[in-house]
């Protein structure tokens, strides 16, 4: 089974809830039909919500496309816009080099360069932290997506930004 659909979001914060519901309303029966657990839908919900937040905060454009692509093995969610690029791609010069995107007492979020135009995010947990509340991050969007996703990448090919999230379907 394959299904693809594109949703347009107007980047207005008051419309996040409605847009997210529309996308999840499309996705839920497809995933259920495909025998997928509620946990996968919940991860998709977290991710879609954060991609829409990201659009409101950072796109600097009037609209964003959210593309949903479901196949037998993977659910792919893309956020596409033509706003200002995320400077990570230019900041990391060499392939396979990595950069800390954000850090706090519990997590280190990295970006690693995959090719000239693409970075992939990954996260390491600090398992031996001593809790200091003042060292907690308050900007958590990329961290949530990275931890909820099986793979999370950012690609910039002028003038288009594409965040791609992959969720593997359980068999």
């Amino acid at each position: 089974m394959t299904a693809t659909k594109v949703f347009t979001f107007d980047n207005q914060p008051e419309n996040i809830t409605q847009c997210s519901r529309t996308i999840l309303g499309y996705l839920e029966p497809l995933l259920t039909q495909n025998g997928q657990a509620r946990a996968l839908l919940l991860r998709a919900k977290f991710i879609i919500g954060e991609l829409l937040n990201n659009a409101v905060k950072h796109s600097g454009t009037n609209e964003t496309q959210i593309e949903i692509d479901l196949s037998d093995k993977v659910l792919v969610i893309k956020k596409i816009d033509t706003g200002a690029p995320f400077n990570l791609v230019s900041k990391i010069e060499k392939q396979d080099a990595q950069l800390i995107v954000s850090s706090d007492v519990m997590h280190l979020l990295y970006a690693i360069k995959k090719d000239e135009n693409t970075v992939s995010f990954f996260c390491k947990e600090n398992l031996t932290f001593e809790l200091d509340v003042n060292k907690l991050a308050e900007h958590l969007g990329l961290l949530i997506i990275t931890k909820a996703a099986d793979e999370f990448t950012y690609h910039y090919q002028k003038p288009t930004n594409v965040f791609t999230v992959r969720l593997n379907l359980s068999r």
Partner: protein, 99 residues
């Protein structure tokens, strides 16, 4: 206090953060937040909770979360905020543990 929202997201987070910080300053007491009605929280709302917790700790108070729905609990666990906040199923449970 009770959060009278089902979807606690970016469109409410700044106001929520200001209200929590004002309340902490005004009352000089810990805040118990009942989240029973909330079915979804996003990063900006969680960021507001973290900011309020930092402020509360700085004045020797606390922010306590009560009656989280499973999806919210899962979100907190995903980014390990369950290790940061005191979380209770009911106000009764919180009272027994804290008071």
């Amino acid at each position: 206090m009770e959060v009278n929202l089902t979807e606690a997201n970016l469109s409410h987070s700044e106001r929520f953060k200001s209200e929590l910080i004002s309340l902490l300053n005004e009352k000089q007491r810990s805040i118990w937040i009942n989240m029973q009605q909330v079915t979804y929280v996003d990063s900006s709302f969680l960021g507001a909770l973290v900011a309020a917790l930092k402020h509360a700790i700085s004045i020797q108070r606390d922010v306590v979360l009560i009656s989280l729905q499973k999806d919210i609990d899962d979100m907190l666990k995903l980014i390990r905020l369950d290790k940061v906040f005191k979380i209770y199923n009911t106000e009764q449970e919180a009272k027994q543990a804290i008071v």
